[in-house]
Symmetry: D2
Subunit: 352 residues, 4 copies
């Protein structure tokens, strides 16, 4: 039995997405996005967000974030983010590359989330000192967060309000946006533009697509340069239809939310199982498809030796001083896998 809790990107593709790719593969269409698949996918996104937004497709969340931030921040600007956010510690300097050298200001978080107090304190320590201090230009938050938590619409709105008052844009890294929507029950609109989000990296890859991400612009002023930047980043697909086809299938009949709800449910099942062991501490509330926990010494290694896949999670601001483990579920995780992991764990804890 495959016990994959290493990452949601170890999973394959939803069958509906594969089928859509196959249909598109037999077709002949114009290149570079001038095709019906792209048009329909854009319309589907606008429908999901219940607004007249503009979408552009790329294939990695990295690219979506880098290109989105480059439209929101000049090369000499600063972007406020959580100190263990994906853009800060998992992209090898990608935001710096795409923006042309903007500065990421790494802030502490509460359960992986920025709060108004944290952001206001940071801004207070960055008074206007033009041209010496890189002027703050954007705030980037991750929904669902890198700690497996979610921002409520009110929490997003609180940060948006600070951002906009200070003249900053609010970017949302939504690599696991589907999981956040499924978790909160709030609508895509409530979690984004109605709460003040200016632009969203809307992920499909981790939740059943092969490789498909959309940058969704709620602020039309930000769209202008994007197409040039995507091209020179090498992210304009010639056979763009294959991105549109994925998103079309992904959003059709709520597939994206069904997949995400399943992944979330599997994580919750795991978290509840873990919570029953006294020897194990959960690091954060489990609100999407990620569970973080501290295990007794040696247990992780022994589970891994028995075929369970998951990673240690060492990050700045880490509350567990380097002893935390991360377990990720996906649309493809089964309850049998979860239960089998818990069984293995029980056996370990009893044995030692």
């Amino acid at each position: 039995m495959n016990l994959n809790f290493a990452s949601d990107n170890w999973a394959g593709c939803a069958p509906e997405v594969l089928a859509a790719l196959e249909r598109a593969g037999r077709d002949t269409t114009p290149a570079y996005g001038n095709d019906d698949y792209t048009r329909r996918a854009r319309a589907a996104i606008a429908a999901v967000f219940a607004t007249d937004c503009t979408s552009h497709f790329v294939t990695t969340g990295s690219a979506a974030n880098g290109l989105a931030l480059a439209t929101a921040c000049p090369p000499y600007g600063a972007i406020l983010c959580y100190e263990a956010s994906h853009i800060q510690i998992d992209e090898c300097g990608l935001p710096e590359f795409y923006t042309g050298g903007a500065k990421l200001v790494a802030l502490p978080g509460v359960d992986g989330k920025l709060t108004p107090a944290i952001v206001e304190r940071a801004l207070a320590q960055m008074p206007e000192r033009s041209p010496h201090l890189a002027p703050p230009a954007a705030i980037s938050i991750t929904q669902g967060s890198e700690c497996g938590t979610v921002y409520t619409p009110d929490e997003v709105a609180g940060l948006a309000s600070i951002a906009h008052r200070a003249g900053l844009k609010l970017h949302m890294d939504g690599a696991r946006f589907a999981n956040a929507v499924a978790s909160t029950g709030a609508s895509p609109a409530e979690l984004t533009w109605r709460a003040g989000v200016d632009l969203l990296s809307f992920g499909g890859t981790k939740n059943g697509c092969l490789a498909a991400e959309a940058v969704v612009f709620f602020d039309p002023a930000l769209v202008r340069d994007f197409e040039y930047r995507r091209k020179r980043g090498g992210h304009l697909w010639s056979k763009m239809r294959f991105l549109g086809a994925q998103f079309e299938a992904y959003l059709e009949d709520g597939l994206w939310l069904r997949l995400a709800a399943h992944a979330n449910a599997m994580a919750l099942r795991l978290a509840r199982g873990l919570a029953e062991f006294e020897a194990i501490q959960l690091s954060y509330p489990t609100q999407i498809n990620e569970v973080f926990a501290t295990l007794p010494d040696g247990v992780a290694e022994r589970l891994q030796a028995k075929g369970a896949h998951f990673y240690p999670w060492v990050t700045p601001g880490d509350p567990a001083a380097g002893r935390m483990q991360r377990f990720v579920t996906s649309f493809a995780t089964t309850s049998e896998e979860v239960d089998r992991l818990l069984e293995l764990l029980r056996a370990e804890l009893v044995a030692h």
Copy 2:
């Protein structure tokens, strides 16, 4: 009937590639290239090139070229290329972006190809003037070329010899490398490392893949930084297996060469047909899957009005002063389509 001569990237996917994607989509594998699909695809490339080269996968030829050039040229260096090469006029400054600001030195060509005489004249006009002049660091050539021609192994070797004598790397943009191999009959090894190519952008997308390109390093010293650069460019796929799976299918049993040979044959059929019309001038020899021709005034527009898709081709150094048209065939082009285009054309030329 679909009369697509606009681009080989209007075509879909070879069925074998689609089938491979579907199989991989049902699998669970490690992410970021630590999977068997990637390993097998790399081995297949090494076998095709009959050498122990290193390959890395990305999804666009743009990315392959940009990242390859960034490993071969420092930010303050210069890259010599044909004045109408793809990297110079179709990438919106992508090589400049990926290298951190290197300078492309645009040179005239003969039928779209650099020659030793052209390169030597250019180098003579760039004597060492450190640190004032950006020092030449690489030559980039396109195989098959942007004018539908191919470099013979000897022609490649002639340029490689100049490059290496001057301390430059030789990069080959092989977006249509399969077509060049099928056209010349030379082996992949003869056209690349045996002739002195240091690194190759090896294309799959235009010739039947969904989106798959490999950067093949024949010079191991160039590999070091690539992985970091790919990551920060947003081109490291989490579900990397889907790139490996495409390349595996593409190279299996010579599929890539069968597809390319067909596309080449369709172009030749078209070129021969065009050559029969006195009113039409072919701009370059037809050696791969592209045909360039000058039509009498108004003919192109009338053909397009009848459903034929192809583009006018205006470039620096253009011999036809802006009146050239480009016709591209692909693995999916049928002889019926070619014949139908020629029929439409005959009718036009007779009528006016």
Copy 3:
């Protein structure tokens, strides 16, 4: 006797400039340009150009050009320039660095100058192909040119008109702007904003300053980002007063034009002397303080062995196939030096 015809930057400083530096050196003032020297220098520039322009000071012409172009061209844009212009062949990729990777499109010139026909032909070969082709954003011309010639106000206006019709900015590299003003007799206003120049790199260093250049913005929309870019380029001096002090002294009572007129006169004296030798060909008209000539084989080397300093001048588009020599005069060149060089030359030509 010192026979310096190597460059105007081998000369020292005008005594008036040194005296101004000494006065400023004994003073205490606010830093970073909030001082009276800077204010007065800006006012002096506005007076010289007879318009309400905005000026910013830096210490090298390189920096002035790079920063000016970065305000006029996005990272994905293109800048049209003469193929042997300083920004193209003498800055080691500086415009690419400052713009974040914009593309310089190198064009042929007539006596070192772009013409409307050359620029229009280039633009015709760059039809709008967004986002594939880097969109032209600026034209940069050098006044006086790298070939020692000058643009008349009408010639500037002709290029400005093409630029503005196409939505491009016109930048003037005025490293030797003083020499051009002194040569044409046209006013600074006539040679710049009245003819349509949007921003000017206004040089002082080559003409008697220690190190002082101004970027003069006639288009106020371009000023916005400049201060941030200058800071992050490391070109904001803390003791900025020393740049203002130089410019104040340089412009006072027409010093700059007297110095330039002298340098021009010395070049003309040399050119007339050279023209008398049948064996010597002048490459371009001598309109400022530079003379280009082709000498019989071996003569340059023998003159240099006798203590004359000047450089061979090998550039793209070079009419003399690598055999040209450049002689530069400066505010400090004496007629004795010129005559002595001509004497040495005469002796050489007679002897062989």
Copy 4:
């Protein structure tokens, strides 16, 4: 009476430096550093550091730091530094610009200094995760620090040892290096290469020069790219002699240390005076020419209204929650100025 405690860069020039500039200004020399002034200045630096180091001159500390870091860190690397260091908060993203997008990792400090424990904790939170995490490539420390303190040779060696064990370079921002040498009594060699510093930004501007900084390479492997990078940053002076002339005068007969010792003594006089007031808290030990203190509400504003110049100092990690003031002395500060400031302050504190 001028009460300048705003910055050491409000001061002018040491007379010896001005005299050297004047002498050099009357001379004719080759450009771009091929002159005797530059050669002598380099030799003087090698003598001061008692080793065969390589020096290159620029005009701002900003440029020295940016160019030095660009030679020590690849575009995808990370640089560890103090969270309120000049490179992090006062350069508008300059290190990011010069490195091509490297990431600054901002760490807390003790009295403005990094410690082995702080650096080791940070490195432990950055385990090797190639290519996801930007790999640490350098540590940058400031000597004297931004809080007016100094690193002892042992403290430098402790950090160098961690750096080198982890494969990182150690850069020292020595904008106030003279003050640190004068303060510690340690030799320049003991404070740099003998303690493990790989490259130093050696400042002259704040301590009596007009604008002169040297990048001193103790690790010869780092020199290679520097000259190209300096050129394309626009920091290669044509009249380079004027930088060499300043450094020659600055180092002659220990002038630099006499000037620094005076500035330090003035700061100590001020700090001792402030310490006598109960209502005033000194924020850090006063070890060079900067004093940081918290004054009762309103006092700073009233002193400023009476002509005293100094700045509030709000930074990340600020212990005084935004209420700190910074007082800087210079080579030109007199004891009368210090005493007058203390008098004004006494009057204020008594009055309220």
